[in-house]
């Protein structure tokens, strides 16, 4: 600890500073250097071994695992999944300490409606859906969410305490408008179904920002703008004044749940990815960073440090923009901004004091720059919980992703842990007395940002068409970082690969 005047003066007269106990912690899962090896095209060793395999999946996040899941389900076994980290999962990884398991990023899946066939198939297989009934154990327990506003916690995330008549009317009109958009059936999950049916009206929404749309609708009061901005930061890492109105509306108008959800687990969506990775373990190769993919005749050569794979077909489930650095001949540059995120897991020795509605799964602080925190132990059925883990989410959504990334990577652990504590202190004045550990994951490229023009962009659509045995599968092709999109893209690419490899045999 650095000695400051504040600490020194009492020490001189033999007193200890009555302050917070020391908080431990550090950065977790950092792999910036390895990623930048690719960017800088560092000379990497030529692998000595080679393996012939019909299909290679690059990337073991939700998209890659879904591609593998689909192929295995169809009885196809001649493929490998190459994951650069030591564990598959991507944005759906999780950690664990002696108090609880906790998520490192994605932490819930909305209860799929009857349209979302693939998600239902997967969740039936994982035992979450039995005879049309969802397993209560993993539906988000009550109480679900609360908002810290006007000095106390209120039930629900939408502000409704102390609104003026006009503010209330705008909140209601916003909800009505979203309901109308839902009824058009053109905002869907997966989004491609709705996009295919879109008319000029929807395409026009993609040319303006959500903020502009709200101004045109006369939705200008602070509470409704806050709600929209919170939601677009929360799901898409983008401010309401930057995001495509189409994407902003999609957040509110795309889903119609049949059950009070979402589905959530202490370790977040790692609950799903770990089960998939275990089931598919014979195909998964961890610690296998793909640093080059080259065309060789009618095949593809996929290089990792230890082995080169000769494949008929490549499913590219890593971020799409990364392909320009790795694939030869290089595809056209993929220009899509990505949002950096800061995810902090705080270990609490006791619950802080607070006022109002009791602790929920999702706890949001009105007008905070962060997204609030999720209680990782919320799905624990114990009546008494002395200690807990909170996952604090912060999308660095102001301005361009690159600038925010510099800020994200520039701050050391002390800087960011202090920021997180100061944020929580607004609602929990004694938080520093409760926290014993803060582990932080700085996700430089956490998700694509759906800025205006992306949804109906010809170049995006062009990427969706697989060619010569090369198929993109990442959810950034949807410009929406959603579990369902990743799964859909993965399965679509797998279908193509199956057709292609089948032809080859």
């Amino acid at each position: 600890m650095k000695l400051t005047r504040r600490a020194l003066a009492p020490a001189l007269v033999g007193l200890t500073l009555k302050g917070a106990p020391r908080i431990e912690g550090g950065f977790a899962l950092e792999n910036v250097e390895q990623g930048h090896l690719l960017r800088d095209r560092a000379p990497l060793m030529r692998p000595r071994e080679s393996e012939r395999v019909p299909v290679v999946i690059v990337g073991g996040g939700m998209a890659g695992l879904s591609a593998a899941w689909w192929m295995e389900r169809q009885g196809f076994r001649d493929f490998r999944l190459l994951e650069m980290e030591n564990e598959a999962g991507g944005n759906a990884r999780g950690g664990e300490n002696e108090v609880s398991a906790y998520p490192w990023a994605a932490h819930y899946v909305p209860v799929p409606d009857t349209e979302a066939g693939l998600v239902r198939e997967l969740f039936t297989e994982l035992g979450l859906l039995r005879d049309g009934v969802w397993d209560e154990r993993w539906l988000c327990h009550a109480p679900k969410e609360r908002l810290f506003i006007h000095g106390r916690w209120e039930e629900g995330v939408e502000p409704h305490a102390a609104l003026t008549g006009e503010e209330r009317r705008q909140m209601e009109r916003f909800a009505t408008r979203m309901e109308e958009y839902r009824e058009t059936g053109r905002f869907t999950v997966p989004m491609e179904r709705g996009v295919a049916k879109s008319t000029a009206a929807e395409q026009a929404l993609d040319r303006i920002t959500m903020g502009e749309w709200m101004r045109r609708e006369g939705l200008t009061s602070a509470p409704v703008r806050w709600l929209a901005d919170y939601s677009t930061r929360d799901d898409y890492g983008t401010r309401v004044d930057d995001i495509s109105a189409w994407a902003g509306i999609h957040y509110f108008a795309a889903r119609q749940s049949e059950e009070k959800g979402p589905l959530t687990w202490p370790e977040g969506n790692a609950w799903v990815t770990r089960r998939l990775a275990t089931k598919l373990r014979t195909y998964v190769r961890n610690n296998s960073m793909v640093f080059r993919v080259e065309r060789a005749g009618v095949r593809w050569r996929v290089f990792t440090q230890s082995r080169v794979y000769e494949a008929d077909c490549v499913v590219w489930a890593a971020p799409t923009w990364l392909a320009s650095w790795v694939v030869d001949p290089p595809p056209p540059r993929w220009v899509m901004d990505t949002a950096p995120w800061l995810v902090s897991n705080l270990t609490l020795e006791r619950w802080p004091r607070e006022r109002g509605y009791p602790p929920c799964w999702d706890n949001v602080i009105y007008r905070s720059p962060s997204l609030g925190y999720v209680v990782a132990t919320h799905q624990n059925v114990a009546r008494h919980q002395e200690r807990t883990v909170w996952t604090h989410y912060w999308a660095l959504a102001d301005g361009r992703g690159a600038d925010q990334r510099r800020l994200l990577l520039g701050g050391d652990w002390h800087y960011w842990s202090e920021k997180v504590l100061a944020d929580l202190e607004r609602a929990h004045p004694d938080i520093r007395q409760c926290v014993s550990r803060i582990d932080i994951f700085r996700i430089a490229h956490a998700m694509p940002r759906p800025l205006p023009g992306v949804m109906f962009d010809e170049r995006r659509q062009a990427r969706l068409r697989p060619r010569d045995g090369f198929a993109y599968a990442n959810c950034d092709l949807s410009a929406l970082s959603l579990f369902e999109e990743a799964q859909y893209r993965g399965v679509e690419a797998a279908k193509y690969a199956l057709g292609f490899a089948g032809r080859g045999r």
Binding site: E136, A142, V381
Partner: protein, 498 residues
């Protein structure tokens, strides 16, 4: 200057009366029988004031300095009087002795005040005027205090902080006296320092008063508190009034020893007496051992497992002579195994199967407790029961919380049980509800164990009849992702207690 002096008279008169009222109120709260308490406290207090007035004749020198010392002493002792009495009541013995000792000391000190002050003011006023003014203000102060006390102080500040506040007023009178009479005080600096010190102590007392009242919650209970302890899980308080012992958890009544047999006989026997082959029983909650006491009346039972969250609770009800006598030492029987764990996760980890289960949790007044009344919980419970097994669930009152009661019934149904709702009248609780859950058709037992005080064949049949005002109402199922029960319960009990 003159006004300040008369203000002092007014204030110390008010303070004197406040201490008397606080002692009386505290004694009524803690010991009951308010007529007796107030009479004896007022009598003792006035008598002590008489002693003080008499003793004032022996103070001959340095009147002002003595007066300041007395003010500080009154401020300190009076100010902390209710704190000390609360703590003594909860944590130490000899409460009455301390109470009357305190009343005597404060009374004597207060009795010294007015005579001394009159002698101090003697040189400044004519006797006729002085007596009239001082006594007028004395009685006015008393009036002010007696109005302030019930209307503002007790409801807003509580007894502990009210006493501290008036102690602070006494100390303030002492403090400004060191300025008004500075030419007449020999040891001015030390008097002033002492005044500041007392003011500081009392302010510190005010700041920490909430902690003091948190621990000394005896005032909540109108009966004698014979046992009080805070554990990491809850606050246990046992009270006694004559031969009636009552257990409170976090201020909620759990049983009264006068009628708990009605509750526990109803909870256990309709189910267990119908299972002559039952070997293994499980009790969830119920760390007081009263349900276990009923269970061990069945010689056929080979094991009874009691799962209660709080080790302090099961320890006290296994060892404390009085508490142990309430459950007839049931928790120390060799057949009984005590597990201190959280019931829901314990069941998730356990692979044991039971023939009879008693679920005796506190009422679902918050989301943590509400989890223990969900369809997910009952489904899990069913996996731990033999095919012929039964479960009896305490299910709050079908009278006061009718929706809550029928919600538990519906939820058990959703959890896969065939349900048999029943209810019993327990005077200290009112009409109380239970649900028997079975996995096949159930018929009431032909025989009951001997020695029961409430249940026989006739009463048992009547328990399963619901009069129209207790009958079923349409309700939703309580689920982990939608705890309707906590909302029903909160709404219904708020209507009752409003």
């Amino acid at each position: 200057m003159v006004y300040v002096l008369f203000l002092s008279v007014f204030l110390i008169a008010a303070c004197g009366l406040i201490y008397e009222l606080i002692s009386g109120a505290l004694a009524s709260y803690l010991l009951g029988d308010s007529v007796l308490q107030f009479s004896t406290i007022i009598g003792a207090y006035l008598f002590a004031m008489g002693i003080g007035s008499y003793l004032s004749r022996f103070i001959t020198r340095a009147l002002i300095s003595r007066f300041i010392s007395i003010e500080l002493a009154v401020g300190l002792i009076g100010g902390f009087s209710s704190t000390i009495l609360f703590m003594a009541f909860t944590y130490a013995g000899g409460f009455r002795f301390l109470l009357y000792g305190m009343v005597l000391v404060i009374g004597i000190l207060v009795g010294l005040e007015i005579p001394l002050l009159m002698r101090i003011l003697r040189e400044r006023f004519e006797l006729r005027e002085l007596v009239a003014n001082v006594l007028t203000l004395d009685y006015l102060g008393a009036l002010g205090a007696s109005l302030l006390f019930p209307l503002l102080l007790v409801p807003k500040l509580g007894l502990v902080r009210s006493a501290l506040l008036f102690g602070l007023i006494n100390a303030a009178v002492a403090l400004w006296s060191t300025f008004i009479f500075r030419e007449h005080i020999g040891n001015l600096m030390s008097q002033r320092l002492a005044s500041f010190a007392v003011v500081g102590l009392l302010i510190a007392g005010m700041v920490y008063a909430s902690d003091i009242t948190d621990t000394a919650d005896a005032a909540l209970y109108s009966d004698d508190v014979i046992f009080a302890r805070s554990t990491p899980y809850q606050r246990l308080v046992v009270t006694r009034w004559k031969d009636d012992y009552r257990l409170y958890l976090n201020g909620h009544l759990q049983f009264s020893s006068r009628d708990e047999y009605r509750y526990h006989e109803s909870l256990v026997h309709p189910g267990l007496a119908s299972l002559p082959g039952a070997k293994r029983a499980l009790v969830l909650g119920g760390g007081d051992g009263l349900a276990v006491r009923e269970l061990v009346k069945y010689p056929g039972l080979e094991s009874v497992t009691l799962v209660d969250l709080d080790p302090e609770m099961t320890k006290q009800f296994s060892t404390h002579p009085l508490l142990k006598s309430l459950n007839a030492g049931a928790l120390t029987e060799p057949r009984v195994r005590i597990v201190n764990d959280d019931a829901f996760p314990w069941l998730e980890r356990s692979d044991e199967i039971f023939d009879f289960v008693v679920v005796d949790f506190p009422d679902p007044n918050n989301y943590s407790l509400g989890k223990l009344y969900t369809s997910a919980f009952y489904r899990l419970l069913r996996q731990h029961m033999s095919a012929s097994g039964l479960v009896a669930v305490q299910s709050t009152s079908p009278m006061f919380a009718r929706q809550s009661y029928w919600c538990i019934v519906e939820t058990m149904k959703a959890g896969g049980f065939q349900v048999y709702p029943y209810h019993t009248y327990v005077p200290s609780f009112g009409e109380w509800g239970f649900v028997l859950g079975a996995q096949r058709e159930w018929t009431p037992p032909e025989t009951l164990p001997g020695g029961l005080r409430f249940l026989n064949q006739a009463t048992m049949r009547s328990l399963f009849e619901f009069p129209p005002d207790l009958g079923p109402v349409p309700v939703e199922v309580n689920r982990l992702n939608d705890q309707v029960l906590v909302r029903y319960y909160d709404k219904e009990w708020r209507e009752i207690t409003r």
